[in-house]
């Protein structure tokens, strides 16, 4: 088995042009910037507005990244749709490009589905893709998808597909849940990523693989620093206290972006990228999401300034309009 992807990954935010079509140029640029900060790419996560983007558009964006020379072994695109047909098409496409893995939502339209139904769903996808290189990371995000990934489901899938089922992303926001999965599948090549870097230290201390977190879009270097210290061999004095310090520093940034003062974390991050790259084109989101109001944008800018936030790896774009303005 080739080496698995680990560390901090960003569910890459998707920039849109004025007509709301995906902006490939800015997308590639943002991905390059993330990679330069040792941040892996998880395009088409919840933060990427993945489900607001069609399958064809997603395929074009991955093709564009690969054509731009971005290494697929640093990518874990989201491919889970409500239909087997679409999930298989997106997954097979990612595997053919040699992506490190795919992040797969359960089918999320019907609620109260059975474990058997979900087992059949994932099983069918694996068999239809039919490629030994396939590595699936199951995506557990009950606050949004409602349909979740249970321990027993993973047990059954791992038993039948020990290679294809590579791990999970736990975005439950419940550390006890993450810990249960870590304990149950330790030593089985099952990698657990936490859905928020606020659990990164705990995750790494318990055998986890890293974090796939929204905030990695704007704070990749600091996330990588904590990850690297966790897996590093350095035996400096007060190691634990230093790790905790790094964790606290991450939490301060995350708290700002996840504030209920903003319509969504996604819109807040796009606003921050617009501010720090001096590129107001970045603020656009697709409905049903909405961008920040002018006042919210000012508040965000002030809060980030107050903590001395610097966006790592970001290069400014020359723009004629003022940052923070809605295009």
């Amino acid at each position: 088995m080739s080496e698995r992807i680990r560390g901090g990954l960003a569910p890459v935010v998707t920039p849109f042009k004025r007509n709301l079509s995906p902006d490939q140029e800015r997308f590639i640029k943002h991905c390059r910037s993330l990679l330069s900060q040792n941040c892996g790419l998880a395009p088409f996560g919840t933060t990427s507005e993945a489900n607001s983007i069609s399958g064809d558009e997603r395929i074009s964006l991955i093709d564009a990244l690969v054509a731009a020379g971005i290494d697929p072994s640093r990518m874990m695109p989201g491919t889970g749709c409500c239909s087997i047909t679409e999930t298989v098409a997106l997954t097979a496409h990612a595997v053919k490009h040699g992506c490190a893995g795919v992040l797969m939502l359960p089918p999320f339209y019907y609620k109260e589905v059975t474990e058997e139904g979900l087992y059949r769903y994932f099983s069918d996808v694996i068999q239809r893709v039919g490629d030994a290189r396939l590595r699936i990371y199951l995506y557990h995000i009950p606050p949004v998808a409602i349909v979740g990934i249970t321990l027993r489901l993973v047990e059954r899938l791992l038993k039948t597909y020990p290679d294809a089922i590579a791990g999970m992303k736990d975005s439950s926001g419940d550390w006890n849940n993450t810990k249960t999965f870590l304990d149950a599948f330790s030593g089985k090549h099952f990698q657990v990523f936490v859905g928020s870097e606020s659990f990164l230290l705990e995750n790494m201390s318990n055998g986890g693989a890293g974090t796939i977190s929204a905030t990695a879009n704007v704070n990749p270097a600091a996330i990588h620093e904590l990850y690297a210290e966790c897996v590093g061999q350095s035996k400096f004095e007060n190691r634990e206290s230093k790790l905790e310090q790094l964790q606290v520093r991450l939490n301060v940034v995350r708290e700002i972006f996840s504030s209920r003062k903003f319509p969504s974390m996604i819109a807040a991050m796009k606003q921050a990228i617009a501010i720090y790259t001096n590129d107001p084109e970045w603020v656009r989101v697709r409905p049903p999401l909405v961008e920040l109001t002018g006042n919210q944008a000012k508040l965000l800018a002030a809060e980030l300034k107050a903590i001395g936030f610097a966006m790592s790896g970001i290069t400014k774009t020359s723009a004629t309009r003022k940052p923070g303005m809605n295009p």
Copy 2:
């Protein structure tokens, strides 16, 4: 404005072949059978496993119906996806075929979205489709989609798009909610369909347009009978008591199919069609749904027999296997 579609409509169940691809032949046959019972067609509703079927597959099925000579003015296909791109593609396709309308889910991935975000979503779809023939029926099904359609959203949309916003399907299961919409928009050409025929009499007595109900797949004639009596001019004695009788008869059938003894109403109806057409191919569902077990199938058959249920408009298919068997 041309005459609007009314009465009983079936969210047409989608038959699948052994490889789970949509079975066009059986689909067309089932649609013809429904039409012969004065039942309109709402392909790609929740009951149709719409979100388990890709956009391309949905487009092929509509094309097949039209090619088979089925009248698009009797069709209201479901076209609401999570992405504007896909919703626009499916909607424009339906409008070009001259469909009576489209049934449109709100984007259902993100939860806790704002009214403004949903307004922008529907507004954007209407403008992108850009066709004066477009008639949207907003689909409110909070138990499944979680994201719902509010009174205020409809008010705003109707104000801007009085022709395109044609009505709604209320599958909340809450008559008070339906009544609120009926009262608020009476006289505005806004047609309210109830999502269950158990509210048909009440809906028709309060200015409603009919029902788009799962059970219309198996009980279309009786649903039409109540609808026709409600809108008819007949002044027979004891009219109210007759209408109530018809309503009770509908409820008895619905109760069987919606029983929690079966994994889903969808699977139970497909099982019933398999039994009554002697065609076991019909039982297949796409994961994450599961079909009935052998025992559940026997129970369903017995319960239907006990009430003397006859499936209207159904022609038997010769089959070598016994009905009720899983293919």
